[in-house]
Symmetry: C2
């Protein structure tokens, strides 16, 4: 199987293989049953991927970390080396409730998969739409979701080109589950990978953290907290084009979805084998999000975002990248939040306002299931 | 949106648009709720697609009939006209039970999506795997399914390159739902389309009809009928390569999955605006499948297959195509079953052994829900 892709990233494969083997060796799946934590995007998800999925599907394009796989489009007539590359990604959406302040499952499904392609440096070309519907679903609810999918796809300029619909009996699903997969064209000359990160690189976030997760939580629980928190769901592919134009040395882009910024930074630090130090004060969080989190006992840095990205860029290109992000309507609150260090390898340190620092860990458990 | 794909099949777009507009005008969605029939692949599914999905997602690549969309891979540096084409498809699998004679949900999910790519004339390059798991799922069941996905992907030579896992609370799904999407490289010089079909063309099926649906039914109901019926699930991409080598004028390939051969032939007749006449005697059906269908009141021609294809080929290439199919291990029982006629437009006629003929209709309702 590997022969198909052996030319894609030859210099990195050895290293990826070594890192992967080490991760698999560490990952032991002790759970006898699937729990909600396995879908949280945090530690249990990583263990499941490392202990079961990566060993089963071992191939060079699958590394369990990238938002999208990148492969050459080898046609029967091409010799392979000159084949253009495409990016390919998939995401299922099971958010509950289906509608919330600022979005719905349809908008989320379009923007989320567009963003996974964008984070791999690809220009999104098209999406698929796989629906699993529960018998008895109100046709008007389906119509609202489909209209939202269509409007979001049109707004982003990325068409839905293929689809599938399944129906399961009442009580065997929860109204609507959506899978969107996507294909993108990879920008030449750009290699986004944790393995290119070096000490001194700068960490940027494109805006306020935690809005999406809190908006869904508010809609789900009908909480009596007076807020106007709205999901940040947005397509980021044009923002990414701006970043790559302004900062062509960009190391890595990730969207901090499930598990939030804390989980994403930990994934990056482990993958790159570096330390990351961020300043708590510099991380943008809306006052109402911070307040609601305090009441609910949640950490805004562990809450999912759906229209934000983390960029790791060389120090010399940080200001250019920041400026590019801020020109995008979804990036006006972008901020430099920290930098990459040699030590402590694989850890993320949060510098507090009073001058101390603590380890910022990956999400454990799942305080907010079905957030996307 | 359409500008991206306007060069893909320019000569056919006008016709596709006219046909589609006529279908949308005819399709009126009277149901207030989703029923199992909307997932059957038969009439209700077609109405839902024509009345809601096609108007919402209107674009040239989406025609509601093809197993996969075909688009050019336009990179930022390509001018578009020289871009190689790729095929893209998606399918969700909700089969119940998860394991049955001859297969399981994992094998089905790999082979089904490979076949959708193959039917579009594409060589499958890679698959995605989207899992929706129910909280409490036994880890050993998941492991069996994942091992089956991995073994099936390896056997077909098509790697799983990207994935996603979601978990929903107990009672909000049914153990495991799988979405696989796939990307393929389109074979140059081949245009498979219902619009190329002309009267005189020959209809071939690659083997016995109805095995998969019956095997699932047997597993689900623990029926007391003594049989050894086994799912036919198999990847058909190498069979398709053989057909296209032997019969390069092949008009159309379709796999008769949900709704069975009857539904597939009706779709083809309607799409092509032709009549299709098939001989009941010439359609291969295993004796035990025919017997079980009689007991259960089912028509083997309306039952899903997962490792069979229907080929419409020019009369002059029919024997070559048949011979090519028969060299494939999944095609030893292939047969010529009928031919395309000018009249009656849009209808399928079944010639009975005693010399009469009756209209063979598309599946209505869903006698076998969750068959794939």
């Amino acid at each position: 199987m590997n022969s198909r892709i052996e030319n894609s990233l030859p210099s990195q494969l050895d290293r990826i293989d070594r890192v992967r083997t080490a991760r698999e060796a560490r990952a032991i799946l002790r759970d006898k049953h699937i729990t909600l934590s396995h879908g949280s995007g945090g530690k249990a998800t990583h263990t499941l991927i490392d202990a079961m999925f990566l060993p089963a599907f071992r191939n060079a394009a699958l590394d369990g970390f990238s938002d999208a796989a990148v492969l050459p489009l080898r046609t029967p007539s091409s010799n392979g080396t000159s084949a253009p590359s495409f990016a390919f990604t998939t995401d299922s959406y099971v958010v509950s409730p289906l509608f919330f302040n600022g979005g719905d499952i349809g908008k989320l499904a379009v923007n989320g998969t567009i963003n996974d392609l964008a984070m791999s440096g690809a220009r999104p070309l098209c999406l698929s739409l796989g629906l699993i519907l529960e018998e008895g679903l109100d046709m008007e609810i389906l119509r609202r979701v489909i209209d939202s999918v269509a409007a979001s796809a049109a707004a982003a300029g990325v068409p839905i080109v293929t689809g599938d619909t399944k129906v399961v009996p009442r009580g065997k699903a929860d109204l609507i589950f959506i899978n969107t997969s996507g294909v993108g064209a990879v920008r030449e000359g750009i290699t986004l990978s944790a393995h290119t990160i070096v000490p001194g690189d700068v960490v940027i976030v494109s805006g306020d953290m935690g809005d999406h997760g809190l908006a869904v939580m508010m809609a789900r629980e009908a909480l009596e907290i007076e807020t106007d928190i709205s999901s940040d769901t947005a397509p980021l592919h044009t923002m990414v084009e701006g970043i790559l134009d302004a900062a062509p040395g960009t190391r890595l882009l990730k969207d901090p979805t499930r598990g939030g910024l804390a989980t994403t930074l930990n994934e990056i630090a482990r993958r790159a084998g570096v330390g990351i130090a961020v300043s708590e004060e510099s991380i943008p969080v809306k006052r109402e999000v911070r307040g609601a989190c305090e009441i609910l006992g949640l950490d805004p840095l562990q809450i999912a975002n759906e229209g934000k990205l983390v960029a790791i860029v060389p120090a010399g290109e940080a200001n250019a990248a920041l400026a590019a992000i801020r020109t995008h309507e979804a990036g006006t609150n972008a901020a430099i939040i920290g930098e990459v260090s040699r030590e402590p390898e694989g850890l993320v340190l949060l510098r507090t306002p009073i001058g101390g620092s603590r380890v910022l860990d990956m999400l454990v458990g799942d305080p907010l299931p079905r957030i996307c």
